[in-house]
């Protein structure tokens, strides 16, 4: 069930967090990139606007919702980074576009 934690890897992948380049290790999640970027919040909740950061980092809590490559409400902790990935904060409810 558990695997040994890999050795620290060099930050070799560049992604854009809120438009700012951030270097992260290959295999890291978009949520990790947001934490490395030092954002104060990754999203604001849809109903009360409460700010949130990634919490569980394992796909359970949904507090890490972000807009990734233009797709809103993605669980950032479940999305591995890719070069040039655009990660943006999720501001409240997404827009449904007719």
């Amino acid at each position: 069930m558990f695997r040994a934690r890999p050795d620290a890897r060099p930050a070799t992948v560049e992604v854009l967090v809120e438009g700012v380049p951030v270097m992260v290790p290959q295999g890291a999640s978009a949520a990790a990139a947001v934490l490395l970027a030092g954002l104060p919040a990754i999203r604001e909740t849809p109903v009360t606007g409460s700010p949130r950061l990634p919490l569980c980092m394992m796909g359970v809590c949904f507090d890490c919702l972000a807009e990734i490559d233009g797709v809103p409400n993605r669980q950032a902790c479940m999305v591995p980074v890719a070069p040039g990935m655009r990660i943006a904060r999720q501001h409240g409810a997404r827009v449904a576009r007719p």
């Binding site: 849809p46 409400n73 409240g92 409810a93 997404r94 827009v95 449904a96 576009r97 007719p98």
Partner: protein, 371 residues
């Protein structure tokens, strides 16, 4: 044993609305709820306060439903004042979308009959063609040819309603007893006693509002409620910014932003599983109505069991053998909450159902079959 003015069996939307209404009439009322093993149709409800599809061929049902929609604003305001809970009631009118000319023609015929049956009680509706409909609703799919519209329709939050009814009832001094499934009962005219794991309760009035449980309970009180389960399934999308200005028969956006898609009508007994083919049909129809829905993630889905009489109409009765015993059954616990709390409960408190409810008696099922 505790003695009360009234016992209500069933803590779902029907029982809670009646109990709230009885408390409002000044009756010392005890509300007996089952437990988390109950089927709880109230927690699977789609949340429409819906008039336009109800009562074809049964104008008394159309009037009762419409009367309930009319009572809803008062109920919602009363609950908000007493509990601070917003039941998210919106009654902007609603539409039934028609995919294809055959559906449109069929709907138009049904609506015309409903209006004819309404007589001078009135029944406002319009059949709206797609070009005009596209100004009312965003991003309709090309297969939507039109819709029926009435001003009476709306929606609300079933969970907020259930919570508000319970809170209003208990804060007004009503006694809510959970884990109190009726294990045994004795009945005499205006003298009832029920035994539960949570105690024994006695009262001169009893109201059976136990949903599907009423089928077994009713005979103990000289009543007949031949209800059966009918499964419905619902899909819920992620929250989106407000986009739908009014509910449709099967698609509505909640106050929090999720879009609910439903509903199915499946005769599968007490099977509460979900069925992927039916879920796919629900999603497909929603995407035909509003293609942009397909881009939204589904975040929840569930099934629940409607409480269905043989003819699909509610059943309201007072026992002839044991006066004081009443039964209330329906599959529209949200729509009819206004009527149950503000019209039916006063009748029960007064000891007689109004003649407007006579057609809802289960005696309608007693007509002998043709030889």
């Amino acid at each position: 044993m505790t003695a009360h003015d009234a016992i209500v069996v069933g803590g779902g939307l029907v029982g809670a609305a009646i109990a709230h209404g009885l408390r409002g009439q000044g009756l010392d009322t005890v509300l007996l709820d089952e437990g988390d093993i109950a089927h709880r149709a109230s927690r699977g409800n789609f949340g429409l306060v819906w008039v336009q599809s109800k009562g074809l061929g049964a104008p008394w049902y159309q009037r009762w439903t419409r009367g309930s929609a009319g009572e809803w604003p008062g109920l919602a305001a009363d609950l908000a004042t007493r509990t601070g809970i917003d039941t998210a009631l919106h009654q902007p009118g609603g539409v039934h979308l028609c995919l294809g000319e055959a559906e449109f023609d069929d709907r138009a015929a049904r609506m015309a009959r409903m209006q004819a049956e309404a007589g001078n009680h009135g029944y406002d509706y319009r059949m709206i063609r797609a070009p005009e409909l596209r100004d009312m609703l965003p991003g309709l799919g090309p297969s939507v040819v039109g819709a029926s519209w009435t001003p009476y329709d709306g929606h609300a939050s079933p969970l907020a309603l259930l919570q508000a009814l319970h809170r209003a009832f208990t804060e007004a001094g009503g006694a809510y007893i959970p884990n109190a499934k009726v294990a045994a009962a004795t009945a005499a005219p205006n003298d009832f006693r029920v035994e539960t794991a949570a105690g024994t309760f006695a009262a001169p009035r009893i109201v059976l509002a136990a949903g599907l449980g009423n089928a077994d309970l009713a005979p103990l009180f000289g009543l007949n409620t031949p209800v059966r389960p009918q499964r419905g399934q619902i899909l819920v999308t992620e929250r989106a910014q407000s986009i739908l200005p009014m509910p449709t028969t099967t698609i509505r956006q909640t106050g929090e932003g999720t879009i609910m898609l439903g509903d199915s009508m499946e005769e599968v007994g007490f099977d509460t599983r979900q069925s992927p083919p039916v879920m796919a049909q629900i999603a497909q129809r929603a995407a035909l109505c509003f293609p942009w829905v397909a881009a939204l993630n589904i975040i929840r889905a569930w099934s629940a069991l409607r409480v269905m009489a043989p003819d699909g109409l509610p059943i309201y009765d007072q026992s002839e053998r044991f006066p004081g015993a009443f039964t209330a059954n329906c599959h529209s616990g949200v729509t009819l909450a206004g009527a149950h709390a503000r019209l039916l409960a006063p009748m029960i408190a007064a000891g007689a159902l109004d003649p407007v409810l006579a057609p809802f008696s289960a005696r309608r099922f007693d007509v002998p079959r043709a030889a």
